[in-house]
């Protein structure tokens, strides 16, 4: 598609999408360069009981935690976990949800209906609740968190793809290509899929934010990767008993979650504005 640069150019003009892009770029940078950027890279696993709960200072930009570890350094390493969770969980949901949505959307009949019914059941229960149940059953660990999130998030993609495919089937170009004698395979993969890429991308961006938020909630409830993993949600849970004095301990990871999720949401909104032709059409003047 020639439009990648076009999309980027338009995104750059949308102020909030730009903010989103910058936030995400920063997050990725932090995750990749965590060992370089961290002031105390060893603090993830080391204890410094002497330096417990120090307020932010030149040595510890965001203070220290209950183990005396540097909060700032742990946050950087936490970004890695966050990104891994987000990418794998959303990727897996895409891999499950998109084909299911496409098949159920293209073929009419009871197999499609029952596929969508299954995804409806998943959607009927709030994601956190379902993820709690799954993570609890499997035991707290990083792969289980990812598994729980993937299993609970794919129906969103299936829904979006299903709805878009059904809507697209009514489009003249799909119907006429079918009338031309095109096979279902040609029709779905070569015509339908490229045309529903935009809503999938938008959903994926928002899904990243959503998944990260849910992962943090699981961590907060003690269902995330076990200590001493520097997971952000767990860090907030740990900090609670030291409030209100060690406010930085709770504030910093929360802010990190907030900025990350915000980044993905802003990007998703911006992408929707740029990619959704329906919105774009409404902006051009109508004549008559």
């Amino acid at each position: 598609m020639s439009s990648v640069s076009f999309v980027l150019a338009r995104l750059a003009r949308d102020r909030s999408a730009l903010v989103g892009l910058v936030l995400i770029a920063l997050l990725v940078l932090c995750a990749v360069l965590a060992p370089l950027l961290a002031t105390h890279p060893d603090d993830v696993f080391e204890l410094h009981p002497a330096e417990r709960l120090r307020a932010p200072s030149g040595a510890h930009w965001l203070g220290t935690d209950r183990m005396g570890a540097d909060v700032y350094s742990r946050l950087l390493f936490g970004a890695r976990i966050t990104i891994i969770i987000g990418i794998i969980a959303v990727g897996a949901s895409l891999a499950i949800g998109v084909p299911i949505g496409l098949v159920a959307g293209y073929y009419h009949g009871w197999p499609s209906d029952s596929l969508m019914r299954v995804s409806d059941i998943f959607l009927a229960v709030p994601q956190v609740v379902l993820a709690i149940a799954i993570a609890q059953t499997l035991g707290p660990s990083l792969p289980n968190v990812i598994l729980a999130l993937s299993v609970t998030y794919w129906p969103w993609f299936a829904r979006v793809v299903y709805a878009e495919t059904r809507a697209l089937q009514k489009e003249v170009f799909v119907e006429s290509t079918a009338a031309l004698g095109a096979s279902p395979w040609r029709l779905t993969v070569l015509h339908v899929l490229p045309n529903i890429a935009s809503p999938i991308i938008v959903r994926a961006s928002i899904g990243m934010g959503f998944t990260i938020l849910t992962a943090a909630a699981l961590g907060f409830l003690g269902l995330g990767p076990p200590p001493p993993t520097p997971e952000w949600g767990r860090t907030i849970a740990e900090s609670r008993e030291f409030l209100p004095d060690a406010w930085w301990y709770a504030a910093a990871p929360g802010l990190a979650i907030f900025l990350t999720v915000m980044g993905f949401n802003l990007l998703g909104d911006g992408l929707r504005d740029v990619l959704d032709p329906r919105l774009r059409r409404s902006r051009t003047a109508q004549d008559g």
């Binding site: 902006r283 051009t284 003047a285 109508q286 004549d287 008559g288």
Partner: protein, 340 residues
């Protein structure tokens, strides 16, 4: 002639992704009392924009009025206080029949609610301004009188069982019936001018014939003026006393119906009439395409497609000139004296 409505030099721009589109380029238009004027032209020529500009309901975001005046009974609506125009002119002296009777009713309120809301503020019995919005009460005596008027008008537009019809929801009516309701609502405030924007385009041909017949009979009986936009020349011939043709945001010719179809003086009018399919099966089109309004041709906007075009046409837009019998044309090389 004492004009009821006189549009002079109206310029409207629309902001688009590719720059401002000059949708109306110094348009002139007159509507006399009791006259049915057809505004014809192909899609994109600006007839709907002109209708909306007169009503004062251009899209708020993209549209900009760049100049000109819309004089109605001597006052320029563009410079009058907007609140006064909304209170006293719109929906009272000038009413509106929309193009699409399917979507021009709110789907969630009964027809009665919608008509009586209109009457609450726009009934000829209402004092200026009507009750204050939302909380104002509808005086009981006036309500009864207005309701009687509504029922009578519904009978005039041949809605069967008006009292029962009122209680129904818009989607329970067919397209033709909804357009009858729209006509009733346009007549109820006893306006001087009705602006009808392609009111029969969405209808089937037998229904269209019924509606045209009804509309013409009612407005002639009541002496109401109508500005009727349409892209269908047959419809214009059917209902209008006078026809104005627009092309790419400029008005080209304005003439009494007979002269317009019988002795068109503008080359564009001639080509347009020639492209109507005839019984003989001969088909003539107009070479070229409608120009972009973002970078329109200079001078007369029809010149790139006109066989008579000269250097003058490219440079200067022709001034209006008057032929015999109230036949106006804006062309440097009008075709006079020959039958079409």
């Amino acid at each position: 002639m004492a004009e009821l409505l006189a549009v002079r030099g109206l310029r409207v721009e629309f902001a688009t992704d590719r720059g401002p589109a000059q949708v109306l380029d110094a348009i002139n238009l007159d509507v006399g009392p009791g006259e049915v004027v057809g505004l014809v032209g192909e899609s994109g020529c600006g007839k709907t924009t002109l209708a909306r500009a007169i009503l004062g309901v251009l899209p708020e975001g993209p549209a900009r009025i760049r100049g000109g005046e819309v004089r109605f009974k001597g006052t320029d609506l563009l410079r009058e206080d907007p609140a006064t125009v909304n209170d006293r002119v719109r929906g009272r002296a000038i009413t509106f029949i929309p193009q699409d009777p399917f979507t021009s009713f709110s789907p969630v309120f009964s027809v009665e609610t919608q008509i009586m809301d209109l009457m609450k503020w726009k009934s000829p019995r209402a004092t200026n301004g009507g009750p204050s919005p939302l909380l104002g009460r509808y005086p009981a005596a006036r309500y009864r009188a207005d309701r009687e008027a509504v029922l009578a008008t519904l009978r005039d537009v041949q809605i069967p069982e008006p009292a029962r019809a009122l209680r129904r929801l818009p989607h329970e009516f067919s397209g033709g019936q909804r357009q009858r309701l729209m006509i009733a609502m346009a007549l109820l405030p006893r306006p001087d001018l009705i602006i009808a924007d392609e009111p029969t385009t969405a209808l089937d041909v037998t229904i269209q014939a019924q509606i045209l017949k009804l509309l013409r009979a009612l407005v002639k009986e009541r002496g109401v003026s109508v500005l009727f936009t349409t892209h269908d020349l047959g419809t214009a011939h059917e209902i209008c006393d006078r026809v104005v043709v627009m092309y790419a945001g400029q008005e080209m010719e304005a003439a009494p119906t007979e002269a317009f179809f019988g002795r068109p003086a503008h080359p564009y009018t001639r080509s347009l009439l020639a492209s109507v399919p005839s019984a003989g099966g001969e088909i003539r089109d107009i070479p070229g395409e409608v120009p972009s309004l973002v970078a329109p041709p200079s001078g007369c906007r029809f010149h790139p497609r006109c066989e008579y075009a000269t250097a003058e046409c490219r440079e200067v837009r022709p001034a209006p000139s008057m032929l015999a019998g109230g036949h106006g044309v804006r062309c440097h090389h009008p075709i006079v004296g020959a039958d079409a």
